[in-house]
């Protein structure tokens, strides 16, 4: 809500300066987001009289005016029609409008010695269509900022949805009065009534009292529709509206002032002069004031005449019954509509208006007559005519809510004793009716506060006016030990182990596209789609963290990053049993190169070279992670999915597939622009949680191990994992540890075989091993290898 300062102080007498008012409002929940000074960039803009107007000799749409600003006279060229004798804002050469500097310049052969300003040039609104007429009594030559209200500051207040009352000048003024000890000034609601009777001029029928619990209408006859006065137009601009005509502006003016939406109908265009409030009928349409014809829904509440809908109730009027220069008689609607009904209609038609916003949030049910009276008197003042006697009314305002407040509980909730008299006084000023009861307050809620219905709401009101910053603070006493649960610990360990193993931490979007999933060769059918995505690229929930991480890796490669080793801990989503299954994963990608340092101290040579990151980086990181968690795992079959069919494996933890490790599918690597051999890993957290991670110490052996090498020729199919288990398992009575350090294929190793060389470390707990024992271990291992089809390499 935009609050022009001059309008505000018409409603509240306050001694505090604007900055203090802004601060107090902000602190009390009405955040002043900024203070604007609309006319601040104007310079040498003065009040001038248009003395003469003639057509531009060489341009159809231009006029040449002689203008008089008291201290001088000149000619200006203007693009909009002006009336001889009108006062307007004139920018003199060397000065500036809100849109830029002004110089004397030739316009199609006529020297224009300045500019007459439109609202946008005055800096008050974005309207460039006309030259506003200033009040006739302004002194010529005076600075418009000082005399025409152009320099008035405007507070932009962010009004939270619970405070529809503050979508108005009056509502904000009431807050200012309470917060800064000001005085809310009374409002004149007098309407001089004419002879004619409203009840005879029009009829009212409310068929849907649920959608429209209250409807009040006034009739104004003999209006002359034209432009509203300058200060009305100016204020409407400043609050963000556009002046239309003196009748419509009167309703908008009251909307801004009291926060109550009104609607004027051209009564002579209302069939049968009967206003009917009902739901729309199937097939009905309405041409709205914005020029759009809308097909109505049976749930839409409409104002109709005897033939057709003439307005979308509480949202927007109809074009055909709108007020224009032809209008003589006006029916002024002041109603209260059901917030939900209006909300649904506004959403259904994607039509949010100043009116629908206020009805949806809850308008004041007791302000209907006051709003109608005020608007009628403005119409009288600006458009002339006579207000018919009496009003049309259907329904009555509901009873006010009452809230019982326990003072002890207020004190406990705020952490401080609250003085009941002080609280009662403040609440009173906010419009609450307050009566002291022995241990509390009996509070009557004013009609414009739909947000207050509970004790807690009253507590907030009190806290607000005390000022949150003045309330006490303390650290709550301990009630339990803070600790991470199993999953929290697992996640923290994983994150730290991933960082320690050289992976950069990454966060990517949870959204991806079906096309991308297909490109990855993943099934898009089990993925979960958004019903209202922002774009096709982000329309599907990622079925694996790897999906979006691969994209990040690709982006890094595109940007020529050297070393792309990323991990992400996040959630993946899959369709399951009609719902969505959500699972936590760690994914990692390895692409690009790793720098390695070679240093020859003898020759003092230092050399960095890059080697590509590959599947053994993935395998190594995987081992670091598992070691960091102390979780046992087992290698299983091919990884599938985005992985290379032969160079990636699934891993099993606690009897369940826990993830995959290895090289990415070469087709994908190419497509993503990753480096050849780029690799990845994926790890599900759930199986890791199930895995027991008991730590059990076995004493370190005090005797040195024997070490010897073995080199085997093995069938291609036998992997290290299998070989090492077989060898270690065969040895009884000693502890052994095996390190593979060479894998070789090619001559002299026969085709279909490979050579693996390893170092065996063997210990006894009792003694240093003898050479006989070493030989026995050795031969046991050779026999074990033989069981896998291996033999000692000569």
């Amino acid at each position: 809500m935009r609050i022009p300062w001059d309008w505000l102080v018409e409603h509240v007498r306050v001694s505090a300066p604007l900055a203090r008012v802004a601060e107090a409002l902000t602190s009390a929940g009405l955040e002043v987001e900024r203070v604007e000074y609309p006319g601040s960039s104007l310079s040498r803009v003065v009040v001038a009289r248009v003395a003469e107007v003639e057509r531009h000799p060489r341009a159809e749409n231009l006029f040449v005016c002689r203008v008089d600003w008291g201290e001088g006279e000149g000619k200006v060229v203007v693009g909009a029609p002006v009336r001889p004798g009108q006062l307007s804002a004139l920018a003199l050469p060397g000065g500036a409008t809100a849109l830029g500097p002004v110089e004397a310049k030739e316009v199609r052969g006529v020297l224009s010695q300045g500019m007459l300003l439109a609202p946008d040039e005055l800096g008050i609104g974005d309207d460039h269509s006309y030259i506003p007429e200033l009040p006739g009594d302004l002194p010529l030559g005076a600075d418009v900022r000082e005399v025409a209200g152009v320099g008035v500051p405007v507070l932009e207040v962010d009004v939270t949805p619970n405070r529809p009352d503050c979508l108005s000048i009056r509502g904000v003024a009431r807050e200012v009065a309470v917060l800064l000890d000001g005085e809310l000034l009374p409002l004149s609601l007098e309407v001089p009534e004419g002879e004619a009777e409203a009840e005879k001029a029009a009829a009212l029928e409310v068929l849907d009292s649920e959608g429209c619990p209250q409807y009040v209408a006034r009739v104004v006859e003999g209006v002359g529709v034209g432009q509203a006065p300058w200060h009305t137009a100016r204020r409407l601009y400043l609050v963000g509206m556009r002046p239309v005509n003196n009748v419509v502006d009167a309703t908008n003016y009251v909307l801004a002032e009291l926060g109550h939406p009104l609607h004027p109908f051209d009564l002579d265009r209302v069939a049968g002069r009967r206003v009917i409030v009902r739901r729309a009928r199937a097939g009905e349409t309405l041409l709205c004031l914005d020029g759009v014809e809308r097909r109505l829904h049976p749930d839409d509440l409409v104002i109709a005449d005897e033939e057709r809908p003439i307005a979308l109730a509480g949202v927007m009027g109809g074009e055909e019954t709108g007020v224009g220069v032809w209008t003589r008689r006006v029916l002024l609607e002041s109603a209260w509509f059901d917030p939900r009904t209006i909300g649904r209609t506004a959403r259904r038609h994607s039509l949010r208006t100043e009116a629908s916003l206020r009805f949806e949030r809850g308008a004041d049910p007791e302000v209907l007559e006051a709003a109608a009276a005020r608007a009628s008197s403005f119409i009288l003042a600006w458009a002339g005519g006579k207000v018919a006697r009496g009003l049309l009314r259907a329904g009555q305002p509901p009873a006010r809510r009452r809230v019982q407040v326990d003072l002890g509980r207020i004190s406990r909730l705020l952490g401080e004793e609250v003085d009941p008299d002080w609280a009662a006084g403040r609440l009173g000023k906010l419009g609450f009716g307050v009566q002291r009861r022995d241990s509390g307050l009996d509070v009557e809620v004013p009609p414009y506060r739909p947000d207050v219905s509970l004790e807690a709401d009253i507590v907030e009101e009190i806290a607000r006016v005390v000022g949150y910053d003045r309330l006490p603070s303390r650290i709550p006493p301990a009630c339990q030990a803070g600790a991470l649960d199993e999953r929290g610990l697992l996640r923290r360990r994983l994150r730290r182990a991933a960082l320690a193993s050289g992976l950069d931490e990454t966060f990517t979007s949870s959204f991806t596209s079906a096309v991308w999933l297909e490109q990855l060769g993943l099934e898009a059918s089990s993925a979960v789609r958004l019903a209202n995505p922002l774009s096709e690229e982000e329309s599907v929930l990622r079925p694996s963290v790897l999906v979006t991480l691969l994209l990040a890796a690709s982006r890094n490669m595109e940007r020529r990053r050297e070393r792309v080793a990323l991990f992400e801990l996040g959630r993946a989503f899959r369709r399951a049993d009609g719902g969505v299954q959500e699972e936590e994963e760690l994914a990692a990608v390895f692409s690009g190169g790793e720098e390695e340092l070679h240093w020859d101290p003898g020759r003092e040579e230092w050399h960095l070279s890059s080697r590509p990151l590959d599947l053994y980086d993935a395998a190594g990181a995987f081992r670091t992670l598992m070691a960091g968690l102390g979780v046992e795992f087992r290698w299983a079959g091919p990884a599938g999915g985005v992985f290379h069919p032969g160079r990636a494996r699934a891993v099993v933890v606690a009897g369940e597939e826990a993830g995959q490790v290895g090289e990415l599918h070469p087709r994908l690597v190419k497509q993503l622009g990753l480096s050849p051999g780029a690799s990845a890993l994926r790890l599900r957290l759930d199986p890791l949680l199930k895995a027991a991670t008991q730590v059990q110490y076995t004493p370190a052996p005090r005797f040195p191990p024997v070490r010897f090498d073995l080199s085997f020729l093995l069938p291609e199919a036998v992997e290290w994992d299998q070989l090492s288990r077989e060898l270690a398992g065969a040895v009884q009575g000693y502890e052994v540890r095996l390190h593979a350090w060479d894998l070789y294929r090619g001559p002299p190793v026969p085709e279909g075989e490979k050579s693996i060389t390893l170092t065996v470390e063997a210990w006894s707990r009792e003694r240093t091993l003898t050479s006989e024992e070493e030989a026995s271990i050795r031969s046991t291992m050779i026999e074990a290898a033989a069981r896998l089809g291996g033999r000692l390499r000569a």
Binding site: N162, L413, A456, A463, Y468, R474, G488, N532, R559, W606
Partner: protein, 354 residues
């Protein structure tokens, strides 16, 4: 003079010369040659030892002792000289050797932390210290948890504060991407009795077109404390302590009234601007304050939704945007940078290891 005597005399003389030469030797090679010549198998000394056998008993003993003494004298001289020369050579070599330690060395590559991860951990760490536990909930939520139980029945106008992603799953509108971490409040209270003291960090979603300060995917940390007599003072104290821990001792917190359907009273919390310390600058839009979290006392309707008796218990809740405070803390000016996964982004931040 017998032949033997001549031999002995010659040995004496030659070893005397060798001693002299050893003392003057200037290279290890020279010392080696001297050792070969005078102590080797073909040396005069060796010959003299062999000839000892032909000497009578008495004389043999005397001559043997003499030869040994001569040999030891030369040996030790050679050895001493060698040590000296070696030490000199070593010293020369060391003074010549150089290495540029300013060049990168070998170091285990440690991954770089992401600001979201770092901030999440820092916040968690702080609240663990205050006796909070960590709770979680699903990112795909039911309307009940995200809205209804939080005092936002269908068609509640405040729902428009949270632009929501819905899932294409039947019935339409039943499942959504949680728009905040507040649903975890409900889940925690549904599953246990007071006292409750938890934080709920997690990923959240809003149907916002991305720009420098909006991302459809972001993170929040929720906090919830419920007990017999929890007051607004407890909320203030907790948040103020957090602000000092997170933004530095000099940071101040400011509480403003605000509105959330699930808290009453509700507050918006500002921290004194991290860039200008409250003077007013570009970062804070001249306000001197930066909005960092929403907070308030748990609304009675929320307690009723989870079966707590609002006349028996009270509580406070707060929620903050992780990216937002990371941006403030580290001076990141575009939220989208968090989600690009660019390693160079991390390089520019260089957050300390956890």
């Amino acid at each position: 003079m017998s032949q033997a005597e001549r031999l002995f005399e010659e040995v004496e003389r030659s070893l005397g010369e060798a001693l002299e030469a050893a003392r003057k030797a200037s290279s290890l090679e020279e010392l080696e040659a001297l050792a070969q010549l005078h102590l080797g198998r073909k040396s005069l000394l060796a010959k003299a030892f062999k000839s000892l056998g032909s000497l009578p008993e008495e004389e043999r003993k005397r001559a043997g002792l003499r030869l040994n003494a001569l040999r030891e004298e030369l040996r030790s001289e050679l050895e001493g000289r060698r040590a000296l020369l070696e030490a000199e050579a070593e010293a020369r070599r060391i003074t010549r050797e150089r290495a540029d330690l300013t060049l990168p060395g070998r170091w285990p590559k440690v991954g770089r932390a992401h600001p979201i991860g770092a901030v999440l951990e820092e916040i968690t760490e702080f609240f663990l210290g205050l006796g909070f536990r960590v709770a979680e909930g699903p990112e795909v939520e039911l309307d009940w948890y995200n809205f209804e139980a939080l005092n936002m029945p269908p068609e509640h106008p405040a729902r428009s504060l949270w632009d929501t992603f819905y899932l294409e799953i039947d019935p339409p509108g039943s499942l959504l991407m949680r728009t905040h971490t507040s649903p975890v409040q409900i889940r925690v209270m549904e599953s246990g009795r007071p006292p409750v003291r938890v934080i709920a960090p997690g990923r959240t979603y809003r149907h916002d077109t991305p720009d420098a300060s909006h991302s459809p995917v972001f993170h929040q940390v929720e906090g919830l404390v419920v007990d017999r007599s929890v007051s607004f003072a407890d909320l203030k104290g907790t948040v103020e302590e957090f602000v000092r821990a997170f933004f530095g001792k000099g940071a101040r917190a400011r509480f403003r009234a605000s509105y959330f359907p699930f808290t009453e009273p509700s507050a918006e919390v500002d921290v004194s601007c991290v860039a200008c310390r409250g003077e007013g600058c570009r970062t804070c839009g001249q306000k001197g304050w930066l909005e960092i979290m929403g907070a308030g006392m748990v609304h009675p309707a929320v307690f009723e939704a989870v079966g707590y008796d609002p006349s028996e218990v009270s509580g406070f809740a707060f929620g903050m945007g992780v990216e937002r405070i990371a941006m403030l803390k580290y001076g990141v000016d575009d939220i989208r940078a968090f989600y690009e996964g660019d390693v160079e982004f991390l390089e520019r931040l260089r957050l300390p290891a956890p």
